[in-house]
């Protein structure tokens, strides 16, 4: 058997697995979106574009899209701002506690997402730690609403994205060469200029990768907007859930899920194109 044939054969189990767990369900989703839903909610088997037309005729879809993008951009950027110094420290430190610190940084990933959300509710709620502190030191007399709104969702999502951002940044910091910073220092560049002119540009590929990863995760995040949003935060993921689980409108839920997928693929394609141009 030729080595090329052997290689192709080696891919067969993976292809079968992918087909079973991804392609076939995607086909099901696509097919479902061409069914119709009657006025009483009953699903009508059909091969019609009615559901898709309904989807794009409703301006709320664009509001949902904008909300999702806005939330994803803000939380991914916030995660980047908080994670960058941590990741740089983890990358550079020679401390014997490095392993422990790294484990702590990604520890939130080990905790169930729902449990983390209820933790945030306890911390940020009207009677939570933050409000107790604010009122204790006399900054406010009434609780400041930090959950059940966009603020709560942004905080929760940022925190849940940070471990992914840290991992992506640490993995991508391989291109950082200390000697280049030392060279800049020897030429009289102060620390802030060394960071802006040397460290940051060299870490940009890692930043872009980490940000994109977090953006995609945030776009599809469901638990955080659902539990911390208090019914005020409408994004694509929560709408897909409502349509499929509460309104039982599977055709529309499928169409919206596919729309979201295409949207994400477009973002990935744009990133790919930009990366190629940079290279």
């Amino acid at each position: 058997m030729k080595s090329g044939t052997r290689l192709v054969l080696l891919t067969v189990p993976g292809v079968i697995l992918l087909a079973a767990i991804y392609v076939w369900p995607m086909y099901g989703l696509g097919r479902m979106s061409f069914n119709e839903t009657g006025p009483t909610g009953a699903m009508i088997p059909a091969l019609s574009s009615k559901t898709w037309r309904e989807l794009f005729a409703d301006p709320f879809i664009f509001e949902l899209t904008w909300n999702s993008i806005q939330l994803s951009v803000v939380s991914s950027t916030a995660a980047l701002i908080f994670a960058y110094p941590l990741a740089l420290f983890l990358f550079r430190t020679q401390s014997r506690w490095r392993g422990v610190i790294a484990a702590l940084a990604i520890a939130p990933m080990l905790v169930n997402g729902v449990v983390r959300i209820f933790g945030w509710l306890a911390i940020l709620g009207d009677r939570g730690l933050v409000n107790a502190a604010l009122q204790g030191i006399g900054l406010t007399s009434q609780p400041v609403r930090l959950v059940y709104n966009w603020t709560g969702v942004t905080i929760g999502l940022t925190e849940s994205l940070m471990p992914y951002m840290i991992l992506a940044l640490v993995a991508g910091f391989g291109r950082l060469d200390r000697s280049l910073e030392e060279a800049a220092a020897s030429l009289g560049a102060p620390p802030w200029r060394r960071f802006l002119r040397v460290t940051l540009p060299l870490s940009l590929p890692a930043v872009a990768l980490g940000w994109l990863l977090c953006f995609v995760l945030a776009m599809s995040a469901y638990i955080t907007p659902k539990l911390l949003g208090g019914g005020r935060v409408f994004v694509l993921a929560t709408e897909i859930y409502e349509l499929s689980i509460t309104s039982v409108n599977w055709p529309l839920a499928s169409a919206l899920a596919l729309y979201t997928l295409v949207l994400l693929l477009l973002f990935l394609a744009a990133y790919s194109a930009m990366s190629r141009r940079q290279a």
Binding site: G41, R127, G231, V248
Partner: protein, 358 residues
């Protein structure tokens, strides 16, 4: 002695239709899968309905599968349409109506399930007089923190009290609690949801800034008992049970302005592999005996008209079918509500939730 002698007699009388419906119970055997709600519903339904049924039909095994929400149950039945693994489903009427239209549930007649003949007419009407009928009636209530809220809530209009700002949890549509609340507020404002919900929307907009969450998780009762909010909407049966379990800390109010029935139906799946046992179970669940036991345990109002007079008056008084409460109920046709659900949902989002701020 008298009391002891009466009980078996009463039980015998109550069970008669159930037994009549399945007088061929020796021929009913095998296993059935029942899909219904989880948690305290499952605990209490098992004790008051499933276990007594098993005693009457020793040849039958009932596999109670918690099915999540009604919509999730519908998903299960849809997915198994070609080869049903479920025999009986207990779900909300808005979803069972969809399943009936999609041909997922079978027709059942009084000839095979005599308990059907004893039901309130509206209980059979929800199954179009041929599909699974209503098995429980419940109604929307206002639940509140009886310990910490002074004065207590005494009417729906009290939700607008300034001292409740930020202390209210409402379930917005498409949750049916939100739909029911819309009909109730429209009535409170002198309108009728069958004509328009403009008055309800205008009034609820003024309530929106006082609402802490439009999506209480895990539910309004828990948020009150944990001190997160003081007032929420809820369902009467669960609220009454939680009230008892917390020694009355949870207050339950059926608003004098009116409330709305929520209906659960019991359905036999089309293509059930053990239809005889499935029908026997549905018949028993609708019987006077089972309805009495479940109402007295969990305060769901019975759908069997003949059972109602035999139920402990104290239990009946805590349901929506007591004469006083029944008079306050607002007639709502859930099938019609489903047709306007998207429109109501959109108005809530754009007008009420938007007024609550981000």
């Amino acid at each position: 002695m008298m009391k002891i002698a009466r009980r078996p007699l009463l039980a015998g009388l109550l069970a008669a239709p159930a037994l009549r419906g399945a007088n061929a119970q020796s021929r009913v055997e095998g296993a059935i899968t029942l899909v219904a709600y989880a948690g305290i519903f499952q605990d209490n339904y098992t004790k008051t309905v499933v276990e007594p049924f098993l005693q009457r039909f020793p040849g039958v095994r009932v596999n109670y599968v918690p099915g999540g929400t009604s919509a999730q149950m519908l998903g299960t039945v849809r997915a198994q349409a070609a080869d049903p693994q479920v025999d009986v489903v207990l779900m909300d009427v808005t979803t069972s109506h969809i399943a009936n239209l999609e041909g997922l549930f079978a027709e059942i007649s009084p000839a095979e399930a005599p308990s059907l003949a004893e039901l309130y007419p509206e209980a059979r009407a929800v199954g179009m007089n041929k599909f699974g009928p209503a098995v429980t009636f419940d109604n929307l209530v206002i639940v509140y923190d009886k310990q910490n809220l002074k004065p207590e809530i005494s009417k729906l209009a009290d939700l607008w009290r300034p001292d409740l700002k930020g202390l209210i949890a409402l379930s917005a549509p498409p949750n049916i609690q939100g739909l029911a609340l819309t009909a109730m507020v429209e009535k409170m404002e002198g309108g009728s949801h069958t004509q328009s919900i403009d008055k309800a929307i205008a009034k609820l907009k003024t309530l929106a800034p006082s609402v802490q969450t439009f999506e209480p998780n895990p539910d309004g009762y828990s948020l009150i008992l944990n001190g997160v909010v003081r007032v929420a909407t809820g369902w009467n049966a669960r609220a009454q049970l939680y009230s008892d379990e917390t020694n009355g800390r949870l207050g339950v109010l059926l608003p004098p302005e009116g409330s709305v029935f929520q209906i659960n139906t019991i359905n036999v799946v089309k293509g059930s592999k053990n239809r005889a046992a499935a029908v026997a179970f549905a018949n028993y669940a609708l019987s006077q005996e089972a309805q009495k036991a479940f109402t007295e345990r969990m305060f769901y109002a019975p759908t069997n008209a003949a059972a109602a007079p035999k139920i402990d008056p104290k239990a009946i008084a805590r349901t929506a079918v007591s004469p006083e409460n029944r008079a306050r109920m607002i007639p709502v046709d859930w099938v019609e509500i489903v047709k306007v659900r998207d429109m109501w949902n959109n108005r809530w989002r754009r007008e009420i939730v938007a007024a609550a701020g981000r």
